[in-house]
């Protein structure tokens, strides 16, 4: 093997260029002479056979897959406020199996050590008394949670999961640069990266005999169950998140779905008599293990952080009583301080009787005199970090500071020495990364993830590689826009675990029995907003199409009908109300703007934003296909709209068509859902209620308030309700008010009619769980309300209702429709009050 893989002379390999790695850094793939390292040879050969162009296609396919799967990362303070697609580079980071074994051993040792340190600090504190850990690093550490002192977690496991960030020095040795002990993220992203590799580079993955990731999850999740307090039944595990705005919400949702654990936020749980329960529609279900994905301080607003209401009040009481296990244990953030690294070698010898297998980056805690003097004497070579990092505190780099700045930093260190840590600046290794210019070297940091497996720690054989954005950049952080890579461990003998290609298929996404009240509420509103979006898109489409026809009489009619509908539905801006602006082009522009301006508070933009928000809240409850359809709908409007007027009209019509079709796909997927659980039921109830309300509004404006003659208004109504064809095939006649009312109001066989919605609602409500208090009653109050509405429609005398008054209006119909609309609103309120009501938490004032 020569360095052919990096040659740009071979035309077949055009694009496969990789600049000679800089001598100051270790390159993961190529040695100093430009030859692929032995463990990269097979991979390099596979990629060479594929060719750069084909690889680019695969790369693009990978990006589409990430988009479709909704793999995202939330960036704090991002003005766009949206989840960014997960940045993944398809070129993997390959590591040699023997080297990996050494990394694995080092990370297992470190997890074991940090766990032992936590056990001491939350117990007898002998390490502090013995001088192995400076007292200030414990007692002055805001992450030392005093209410957790004295609590021994089941089997003594404080750290169920642990992650170490590793960097490789120019001589090829690895260093630990950070420890993550709260709720380390990365495993979910790593597995997602592997799925993208498997789907886009299946042959390469196979040829390189990449070590599979699956066994790790099997082992650590099984071990999680053994942490449950013994209660003589299958333990119930929940994943606790701070919500869709969390940095790594994707991963929370991913874990929940992967293992069928309910994804909960603090207010889904409640503590009763020292036990934790999940609030579900069917009542309270006991919880045994909480896999927390938020920092421990935020887990119990009563005993922990006093300025936040996140979490579960009383949780600590339940933990103290031994009735619930939290993984990682509350308080485990204590050992994340970088200052601790300075003391780990001695701690390892003392606690484990072993020397540390992998060094930490050289670290000095300035709270001690001798190290501080050393630091101040060579400040410009070091990175200065806060001892107890809080949000908004960052590392400082004296090397790039002006003299005055450096003096200021030195003065701050002298004034509060204990608050500062100094570390050697690490020269990160580089690895080939795909860019639009071909392969380029990027600095890389490897996150290695360990999980407790019941007796010791297992290590995810791969981890998550993160690369810097630019060629020169040494800041590797997802928060600052870096990328990620799948990590391939090569050349170790296979164990007998099955390969992980795709997650185990689940069919009952919307139906899982454990439905929290909050989730039911979100599904209910997702149904309502999706239907509201459908109604406004359909109406806008019909009106805009009418206005964009040939310049004939019908177009003038279209101006009148548009004005009438928009005004009747309260969508007509003031400046469009005067008859002088009733030109077809002003209305065309208005409707186009309403469709394309996602910022404006028009019905389409607003409803779309709500659908987007709610789809994230319920992600793990939807099937992947349903989720993708919703993503496509909301994605339609994220592309910038054209500026040219003519093109705007065309774009608006095309988007409206797409929305309507995709919402039909959404409805179709729901209808095809094999099982009818409560989640599905709430989504359906939301849709039916909303559709009833929307059709009632259209009937009120389009029939009850329509001027004489009403044919053009009825035509719009039939089109919006997708019933023109039905009408023609059934009545074979010109449009008549009576028939329209029959079809869209009273006909319980037409899926767009009011009667149909109410009959469906009555059936759906029958299937809702009953509370104990109405077990005896034949019908719940909601059920009675729904049945009464169905009866009310059945007895409506259409001929009387359609009659016009002397002044040509239809007051009887108007009043009738208003009455039934009030009944529908009443029913919605009753359902919400019984199943979906929420109270806002408050803190008792301290005095």
């Amino acid at each position: 093997m020569t360095n052919a893989a990096v040659s740009s002379k071979d035309p077949r390999l055009a694009g496969w260029t990789y600049g000679p790695p800089s001598a100051e850094h270790w390159d993961e793939a190529f040695d100093a002479s430009g030859h692929p390292r032995p463990h990269w040879r097979r991979l390099a050969a596979s990629l060479r056979r594929m060719g750069a162009q084909e690889f680019s296609h695969r790369w693009d396919a990978g990006q589409r897959l990430i988009q479709a799967n909704g793999v995202t990362y939330n960036v704090y303070g991002d003005p766009r406020g949206t989840a960014r697609p997960w940045p993944m580079d398809l070129v993997p980071l390959a590591l040699d199996g023997d080297e990996w074994t050494r990394i694995e051993q080092a990370v297992v040792q470190r997890a074991t050590l940090l766990n032992a340190i936590l056990a001491d600090l939350y117990g007898p504190q002998r390490l502090v008394g013995g001088g192995l850990i400076p007292a200030e690093l414990v007692f002055g550490n805001p992450s030392f949670l005093r209410p957790c002192h004295g609590i021994v977690p089941p089997k003594g496991v404080f750290l169920h999961s642990y992650a170490a960030d590793l960097a490789r020095a120019p001589n090829g040795d690895w260093w630990v640069i950070a420890d993550r002990t709260q709720a380390p993220s990365g495993a979910g992203y790593a597995i997602e990266n592997r799925m993208v590799s498997a789907r886009t580079l299946p042959l390469v993955l196979d040829q390189c005999r990449v070590e599979p990731l699956h066994g790790f999850f099997e082992a650590t999740i099984n071990a999680l169950f053994t942490l449950a307090p013994p209660k003589g039944r299958e333990p119930r595990v929940v994943v606790m998140t701070a919500g869709p705005n969390s940095e790594t919400y994707f991963e929370h949702s991913f874990f929940a779905r992967q293992w069928d654990f309910p994804l909960v936020s603090g207010d889904d749980l409640t503590v009763r008599d020292g036990h934790v329960y999940l609030k579900t529609l069917a009542g309270l279900n006991p919880v045994d293990v909480i896999l927390r994905r938020l920092d421990d301080e935020y887990c119990d607003p009563l005993e922990l952080r006093g300025d936040s209401l996140l979490g579960v009040p009383g949780l600590l009481q339940a933990v103290r009583a031994g009735n619930v296990s939290v993984a990682n244990a509350l308080g485990s953030g204590l050992v994340e301080s970088p200052a601790l690294m300075a003391f780990l070698p001695a701690l390892s010898r003392h606690l484990l009787g072993e020397s540390l297998r992998m060094p930490s980056v050289a670290t000095w805690w300035c709270g001690q005199d001798a190290p501080r003097q050393q630091v101040l004497s060579r400040l410009e070579h070091l990175v200065i970090k806060p001892t107890f990092p809080r949000f908004g505190q960052y590392s400082e780099f004296p090397a790039s500071m002006q003299v005055a700045e450096r003096q200021d930093l030195a003065a701050r260190v002298e004034a509060n020495p204990a608050r500062f840590v100094a570390q050697e600046q690490v020269d990160l290794s580089t690895t080939p990364t795909h860019t639009h210019r071909g392969l380029e070297a990027r600095h890389v940091v490897l996150r290695v993830i360990a999980g407790w497996n019941g007796t010791s720690y297992a290590v995810l054989p791969g981890g998550l590689a993160r690369v810097a954005t630019g060629r020169k950049s040494i800041v590797v952080s997802m928060q600052s826009g870096g990328g990620s890579k799948d990590t391939w461990v090569l050349g170790r003998p296979r164990t007998d675990v099955p390969d992980l290609r795709t997650p185990a298929p689940r069919t009952d996404y919307v139906t899982s029995t454990e439905l929290s009240s909050r989730m039911a509420d979100n599904l209910f509103w997702l149904g309502r907003y999706a239907e509201r979006l459908d109604a406004s898109a359909r109406l806008t489409r019909v009106l805009l199409t009418g206005l964009s026809g040939e310049p004939d009489l019908r177009r003038d009619d279209a101006v009148d009908t548009s004005a009438h509908y928009l005004r009747g539905l309260d969508l007509l801006p003031k400046e469009h109300r005067h008859p002088s602006v009733r030109q077809w082009w002003t209305f065309q522009r208005l409707l186009t703007d309403m469709t394309l301006d996602s910022q404006s508070a028009t019905s389409i933009g607003w409803n779309l934003a709500q659908v987007r928000r709610l789809s994230w809240e319920v992600k793990e409850r939807l099937s992947p296909d349903t989720w993708r359809v919703l993503q496509q709908i909301t994605g339609l409007f994220s592309e910038p709209a054209p500026g040219n007027y003519d093109r705007r009209v065309v774009a608006a019509l095309a988007r409206l068509d797409d929305v309507v079709i995709m919402l039909s796909a959404f409805a179709g997927l729901l209808a095809e859902n094999p099982t009818r659980g409560h989640g599905w039921r709430f989504l359906a109830i939301g849709r039916r209620l909303e559709r009833a309300a929307q059709v009632l509004e259209l009937l009120r404006v389009g029939v009850a308030q329509a001027p004489y003659p009403d044919d053009p208004y009825l035509e719009v109504l039939l089109q919006v309700a997708d019933s023109s064809t039905t009408y023609r095939s059934r009545y074979l006649t010109a449009i008549r008010t009576r028939y329209v009312l029959e079809l869209l109001y009273a006909d319980d066989g037409n899926p767009r009619s009011v009667a149909f919605q109410l009959a469906a609602l009555a059936d759906l409500i029958e299937g809702l769980p009953r509370h104990e208090r109405d077990a005896a009653a034949a019908q719940t109050p909601e059920s009675t309300l729904a049945r009464n509405l169905v009866r009310f429609i059945g007895t409506a005398a259409i001929d009387d209702l359609k009659r016009r008054d002397a002044d040509q209006t239809r007051p009887a119909l108007d009043a009738h429709l208003r009455e039934i609309k009030a009944g529908v609103a009443n029913l919605a309120g009753a359902i919400a009050a019984r199943y979906l009501s929420h109270s806002v938490t408050s803190r008792l004032r301290a005095i």
Partner: protein, 283 residues
């Protein structure tokens, strides 16, 4: 001296509360000079369950949950407690700088335990301005007890006792600058001043015998400073006295946050009005 204590805390809510989790530190501590003969906590509405445990600082904590809907929540703590004279805490002329040095080295278990109280805490951050203020009393070589008592006397003289000018959320440094507040602020300022010099100081919550001194109508707060080899010297800057048989001790910690008498998280509630009533009478 034997007292009957009665401490009523009442919350009136704007909106109905459906559920409330609460923890209270309202039982007097068992101490060498303080015997708790009876102690009870009652709530209205009645709590579904009570659980007791000792917190990190050894204070008795009672946790409970109220599951009944309510607009008013009342907790009543009563006790019968015998308070005797505290043992004398003498410094034997030990200079405050020696104490600071001993604490910094914390080579003995008692020093290590006290060291924790020399660091910044959530309500009491160390501050150069507080250190400057303290240094007027802490002159070179001055014995720690003498200097601490001088600091107490100065705080009592410099600060005005003015209820309702501060709340529990008023940052310490603000109360320090405005030179006014309630017993909580007096205690926090003194604790902060001592810590800013590298000394160890506790925040103590308790009651005063009714009628005699300032701060008896609600729960009271004072300070204890660590004197190596002798223990904790208590000082009440609100009244410029050394606590004696008129001071009933409830709990201690680093600051108010560690010993808050009544804490709670309510489901519902909205705006609230709090009323507190404390009676401490000879029994």
């Amino acid at each position: 001296m034997r007292y009957k204590t009665r401490h009523v805390t009442r919350y009136r809510y704007e909106a109905t509360v459906s559920q409330c989790h609460s923890e209270v530190r309202l039982a007097p501590r068992h101490l060498a000079w303080q015997r708790v003969l009876e102690s009870s906590i009652q709530t209205e509405p009645e709590a579904a369950s009570f659980q007791d445990h000792a917190d990190y600082f050894g204070n008795d904590v009672t946790s409970f949950t109220i599951l009944e809907s309510h607009d008013v929540f009342t907790t009543t703590a009563t006790s019968l407690v015998q308070v005797d004279e505290r043992p004398a805490v003498t410094d034997g002329g030990m200079a405050w700088e020696t104490v600071r040095q001993d604490l910094a080295g914390h080579a003995r278990p008692d020093l290590l335990k006290a060291f924790e109280f020399s660091l910044s805490s959530p309500f009491v951050p160390c501050d150069p301005a507080l250190a400057d203020y303290a240094r007027i009393s802490f002159t070179t070589g001055r014995p720690i007890a003498d200097a601490s008592m001088d600091l107490m006397r100065r705080i009592h003289g410099d600060f005005r006792y003015e209820p309702k000018t501060t709340s529990v959320d008023t940052p310490l440094i603000e109360a320090f600058r405005s030179r006014r507040g309630v017993c909580q602020d007096f205690a926090h300022v003194m604790v902060g001043a001592l810590r800013s010099l590298g000394l160890a100081a506790r925040y103590v919550s308790g009651y005063l015998r009714s009628g005699a001194l300032v701060g008896a109508e609600a729960s009271h707060a004072w300070v204890a400073v660590f004197v190596p080899g002798a223990g904790w010297l208590e000082l009440d800057p609100t009244n410029n006295v050394r606590p004696g048989i008129g001071h009933v001790t409830l709990a201690w910690g680093r600051d108010y946050g560690d010993v808050t008498p009544v804490k709670g998280i309510a489901l519902g509630g909205g705006q609230q009005i709090v009323e507190v009533e404390v009676r401490v009478e000879p029994a």
